[in-house]
Symmetry: C2
Subunit: 302 residues, 2 copies
């Protein structure tokens, strides 16, 4: 089984919106030093939806070169077209990705395939590569993946072997999925900044794909839990829960960048427009909560 913490690396921009590869490399070094089990890039918290294709390629190559096999890297390669998603996945594999992660196909508010279209999509991607595929089950796709459909994808398609669930009722869904899918499911993970991690671990999650804000802490929570030290895991998680709650409900993807800027890891916390910046009061609230615990993200770059 895959287990532990696989945070989503933010994509770093300068104030004018251009890629900042120097900050990007520091994000990666911070994550490796935070003792993560792997790193996921080009996901939604990486603002993948704000990138051009050539920027995706440049980021993948830059990050994989810089990681240099210190930890496994999961590259998110979602696209509506099965052909384009397969090509993206093949390129990520060639550059050294350990896994790829894909949402089911979607576009905008109205364009979605039917169930058979979803199955054929993952089959096309799987046929193009020889590394594991993570299904990302997230609200942004607007596609409902039932536990039965997820189990079918895992059982019918060889390389589909991990699932990141981050929807309403994640714990219940993971529990149902684990029962239905059996051993071919090698990584029942959650996501969403770890906001449901307590219930998800109890439901059988072996790993989490949170933001890159406190990956050191969330990694310890998962490892303690899997060692049977549930009380210690719970206490540690509770200690950081108000910060996680504030990230999840008030800040979204901007939280990690704000604390990385505050901690001197990255040069700019700008997201690409039209994603708006944090309101200064929201940002101040986040920093205040973080300082109470002084996590690695505030200390590493100093």
């Amino acid at each position: 089984m895959y287990s532990g913490v696989y945070p989503i690396a933010p994509t770093t921009f300068d104030e004018r919106g251009a890629l900042d590869l120097e900050s990007q490399r520091r994000v990666i070094d911070f994550l490796v030093d935070a003792d993560v089990d792997g790193i996921c890039i080009l996901a939604n918290y990486s603002e993948q939806f704000a990138l051009a294709d050539d920027e995706r390629d440049l980021l993948t190559r830059t990050i994989l070169d810089h990681v240099a096999d210190r930890v496994p890297v999961i590259v998110a390669t979602s696209h509506y077209s099965a052909r384009v998603a397969a090509a993206r996945s093949r390129r990520a594999r060639e550059m050294g990705a350990a896994m790829v992660m894909l949402m089911p196909p979607y576009h905008g508010a109205t364009i979605r395939p039917d169930t058979e279209g979803v199955v054929a999509f993952y089959r096309t991607v799987a046929d193009a590569i020889d590394i594991p595929i993570v299904i990302q089950d997230a609200p942004v796709s607007g596609v409902t993946l039932s536990p039965a459909l997820l189990a079918r994808l895992i059982q019918e398609i060889d390389r589909v072997s991990l699932v990141k669930v981050e929807v309403a009722g994640t714990a219940a869904k993971l529990r149902a999925l684990i029962a239905l899918a059996g051993p071919p499911l090698e990584g029942p993970f959650d996501g969403e900044e770890g906001i449901t991690l307590f219930a998800d671990l109890d439901a059988g999650a072996t790993g989490t794909m949170p933001s890159a804000m406190i990956p050191d802490v969330l990694g310890r929570v998962v490892r303690l839990y899997l060692q049977g030290r549930r009380d210690e895991a719970t206490a540690l998680y509770e200690e950081y829960l108000l910060l996680i709650n504030y990230e999840n409900r008030q800040c979204g993807l901007l939280a990690t960048k704000a604390l990385m800027k505050e901690g001197g890891i990255i040069a700019s916390e700008a997201a690409r427009p039209p994603t708006p910046p944090l309101h200064p009061a929201t940002r101040a609230g986040l920093v205040e909560l973080a300082r109470r615990r002084d996590p690695l993200v505030l200390r590493w770059g100093r």
Copy 2:
């Protein structure tokens, strides 16, 4: 005022999903021969959401080279990121686009900016080019653009001067928009295969951006109407309305491709997966309705 018919050219693929540029050029020649006022490429009916960036570039260059100024070409350049959308628009302009068309920014089911984000988005794109911008107001974006917001965009941003409305209540929205925006609105257009064209012309639409199925007919409808020959325009529109209805409600973007294949214009009618093919019975129903009127799309390639 801009007026007439500006159909959306389908993107042509072979049976394996690769671009078929030979068929693509024949689509363009058909449209020019259909006496269109302009051609729009890379829109949703062009399956823009199923293309990689390098394919968008190749298609834009190939089509603009092939059109060779015979008609103006509108290139759709939507992207969530204002920076990427501006870069796409600049490239389209450099290749010879007469206008660009953009939906407001969106991603998936959940990611949308607020009103100020929408305004800033169009401003960033406008600052990058010196050709007119068409705002595309379509359900796929999942963004609600009120007549007041559309009027504000048109009045505040110099190059924003046309709007393609294709939402529930298009006629009423066009009427409200025309009253609010005044002369800076140089092209109140509708879309959606022309399914609401009758009411939209009465509401003040001066042009339509339908599919490429019967652009010769819809062009004549608009021109007759604008010449004050409303009864003749209505009679001609009614003659084709069952076909338009069947396209709009039963077939979507696959209708044009099916009839272009049937008429020998293109080699394959395949859409890119996961967009499913037409059911054979649906396709047969479409072809039967088209044959009753024997439109140019069935005759041009023979």
